[in-house]
């Protein structure tokens, strides 16, 4: 058997062949022969390396140097420098040989699958050309020139895409209802009124890739037979608003919005509407009422928006992230989409991870990823060596998931079984320093503030629940309080008018389910182990640190502190009203809150 000292591998896959790799092979063989190295060096034609974008590829062993984008002009240099002189031709080295310094290679991104966020951080959102360069508007072109509206809806149906705004209703079915509804005018609306505290994935898409939303809305409009769309976006997102306006103008100028797009009969116009600071407007009927210029109060369904929505016309409303998936599904197909995620929840979900976690930020993961992977592999775990306590998903409509369920795969139905919900994708991590009663109180306060006030269960019921929670965190909880909270929750869930109202007790119910002992501790023992509820803490003077300066005695409004000068003082817990004045006054840090 002949042993070669060097092997030169040349790719002859389709892409590389098309870029002259055959000629390159001939020239290499020829050159090697002329240098009389043909006994030592073997030229091998291989199949595809999988680096087609950088072809033609030439790999030389034993060094393992990968030369990319090789042209016929490079061959002489490769032979002379590398094969004769043993010097690697640096300028031809593929990037894959370089040290990895881009974000794509960071662990944070390794478990991610970026569909909705595909262009975020990649293209310049203010340049339509860059969107087009990354296959933008190809899907719209394909749909308009090559597909019937029925085929479009079938494809979305087939993909199994579910609404990313929270409830997970199949997007295709929504479209189908609106397509079937009779109406001289139909509307496509985009819900960009992202209001969950701690959620900002929609904002990120609007800021990073506004054209994907415009393209998707046009596709939806074609599917259901609409010619007018509205994007309802939070006024608190000025950058998103600015970029959307730029994008709409660019699309109009380029004829991707307006009349007879791609010289078809299809026309589509888009208007931006700004929200004005009302969380309830994220509810679909409330959002439409708001676009109509009224108080954003939900209305009863039926009639459903697909039949009587905006201005009483058939309307579909999709969330930003949902729409961002559409062009990709059209281009890559429903089957491709279904290979990602789980059977019941295909595709990915974007989460905004925040709270007590090392890597706060935005992640897009395939459905079915476990919470543990998200928190520890992507999120980098809990800072300061603290213990994970719970993850909150779904914002004010969702709930808390405790450590015992960290290995549950994240998808719509599993989260609901756990008493939480997918929601729009806020994922707040809490550690042992967070009090779950306090967290429930925080969400209820939010629900009280943001209740529209139309129906009594939400208007008064959430207020009463908040009052009880507030009492509990102030040490005034009574034994029957938990029962009353449960009763009220049941009433609100059953009787409230809209989805937001119905789900407002969820944060209380889920914390009661998993952290009932914390409630009991607050009510019965008047203690808050997490150290959050101020009224339940004691102010204590550490005798060894107290210099007896009497500063604390002077500021105490209730004369609860006693002690002789230059001797350790004592706080009488019965008298203390926990105002904290002493703690601020102590120059030696001798007073602690426990």
């Amino acid at each position: 058997m002949h042993i070669y000292s060097s092997h030169v591998l040349v790719c002859s896959g389709t892409t590389c062949s098309s870029k002259q790799s055959i000629l390159i092979i001939d020239k290499l063989k020829d050159g090697i022969k002329r240098k009389k190295l043909n006994e030592k060096i073997q030229v091998i034609t291989t199949s595809c390396f999988g680096l087609c974008t950088k072809g033609p590829i030439v790999v030389i062993y034993p060094e393992g140097a990968i030369y990319s984008n090789v042209t016929l002009n490079d061959i002489d240099e490769i032979i002379n420098e590398h094969l004769v002189n043993g010097r690697i031709v640096k300028r031809l080295l593929s990037g894959d040989n370089n040290e990895n310094n881009s974000y794509e290679t960071a662990d944070f991104f390794k478990k991610q699958e970026r569909i909705a966020l595909r262009n975020c951080g990649v293209i310049n959102p203010e340049m339509i050309e860059e969107y087009i360069a990354y296959d933008g508007y190809q899907a719209l072109g394909k749909v308009l020139t090559d597909m019937t509206p029925e085929q479009v809806i079938d494809k979305v149906l087939d993909s199994g895409l579910r609404g990313r705004g929270g409830a997970g209703f199949p997007t295709g079915r929504k479209w189908l209802f609106a397509a079937k509804a009779k109406g001289d005018k139909k509307y496509v609306c985009c819900n960009a009124d992202e209001g969950d505290p701690g959620a900002f994935m929609d904002r990120s898409i609007l800021e990073g890739d506004p054209h994907s939303i415009i393209e998707a809305m046009a596709i939806a409009a074609y599917g259901i037979g609409s010619d007018q769309g509205y994007i309802y976006v939070r006024a608190e997102y000025p950058i998103a608003v600015k970029r959307l306006n730029i994008a709409i103008k660019q699309a109009k100028d380029m004829g991707l919005l307006g009349d007879n797009i791609f010289e078809t009969d299809f026309s589509f116009n888009l208007e931006l509407r700004l929200g004005a600071g009302a969380f309830v407007c994220g509810e679909e009927t409330a959002l439409m009422t708001s676009i109509e210029g009224k108080r954003g109060e939900p209305r009863p369904r039926p009639p459903f928006p697909a039949n009587k929505g905006l201005f009483q016309k058939p309307t579909i409303l999709n969330n930003v992230e949902t729409l961002a998936n559409i062009p990709v599904i059209i281009l890559k197909g429903a089957n491709w989409f279904k290979t990602i995620g789980t059977k019941k929840s295909p595709g990915t979900k974007v989460f905004a991870i925040g709270g007590k976690i090392n890597n706060t930020g935005l992640v897009e993961i395939p459905m079915g990823t476990t919470l543990r992977e998200v928190i520890y592999d992507i999120g980098g775990g809990i800072p300061n060596g603290k213990k994970f306590k719970a993850a909150q998903t779904g914002g004010p409509s969702g709930g808390c998931i405790p450590a015992s369920h960290l290995d549950v795969p994240i998808e719509y139905d599993t989260l609901i079984e756990l008493g939480s919900m997918m929601g729009s994708g806020g994922l707040i991590i809490m550690d042992e320093d967070n009090c779950m009663v306090d967290i429930a109180k925080f969400f209820l306060e939010f629900s009280v503030d943001e209740s529209c006030g139309k129906c009594p269960p939400c208007r008064i019921g959430t207020k009463r629940m908040y009052e009880i929670l507030k009492r509990i965190t102030e040490g005034k909880g009574e034994v029957g309080d938990i029962k009353t909270l449960e009763e009220l929750s049941e009433t609100i869930q059953a009787a409230a008018l809209c989805g937001l109202g119905k789900s407002s007790p969820n944060p209380v119910l889920s914390t009661l389910r998993y952290f009932r002992h914390e409630y009991e501790e607050h009510i019965i023992n008047k203690r808050c182990s997490a150290g959050v509820c101020k009224e339940l803490l004691d102010y204590i003077i550490i005798p060894s640190d107290c210099k007896g300066c009497t500063k604390c005695i002077k500021v105490c409004p209730t004369k609860a502190i006693t002690g002789m000068i230059k001797e350790p003082h004592i706080i009488n817990q019965e008298e203390c009203i926990k105002c904290g004045a002493c703690l601020e006054a102590c120059p030696f840090g001798a007073i602690i809150r426990k």
Partner: protein, 160 residues
């Protein structure tokens, strides 16, 4: 040619132009209120009356809409708008303490303005800078990763 008022200086004229531009679009009220608040800084009765006449919507309905949405204000606001983010991410990282500190320092409550019209405190929902939690914005400035002790120093920057 548009018959819009040309003087441009006068806020009332500016609002009239806005009303004319929006008059024929469906659901014009909220866009007009946004613009009006930009022009006047707030929405006093005279402004709402002008919109009522211009769009032919009753003042009662307009007032109902204005008081529904927290973005709209019928009171003038302070020169510096302190927005303390109370989004969940900020809350779990102690945003409440920051808010309390601002209230204590300025001796006003949320939604109020100091007597010298210098500061207003608002509790706002997520500003989307969760990575910097807890976050406070003062007009265009963003202050992140705050602790209560930072508050005094921040306010001093604006006191001069």
């Amino acid at each position: 040619m548009s018959k819009n008022c040309q003087c441009g200086e006068d806020k009332v004229c500016q609002l009239d132009n806005v009303i004319k531009e929006h008059k024929n679009i469906a659901g014009a009220l909220i866009p007009v209120l946004h613009e009006a608040q930009k022009i006047f800084g707030y929405l006093p009765m005279s402004v709402q009356k002008q919109i009522s006449k211009g769009l032919n919507i009753s003042l009662a309905e307009i007032y109902g809409v204005v008081t529904f949405y927290s973005e709209f204000s019928t009171e003038p606001k302070g020169e510096y708008q302190i927005n303390v983010c109370l989004g969940t991410a900020c809350y779990v990282k102690g945003a409440n303490d920051i808010l309390e500190q601002f209230k204590k320092q300025l001796k006003i409550d949320v939604g109020q303005t100091t007597s010298d019209n210098k500061f207003s405190i608002n509790a706002c929902r997520c500003v989307g800078a969760c990575g910097l939690a807890p976050v406070v914005t003062i007009n265009e400035e963003v202050y992140g990763k705050l602790v209560a002790d930072d508050v005094k120093g921040i306010l001093e920057k604006y006191q001069v």
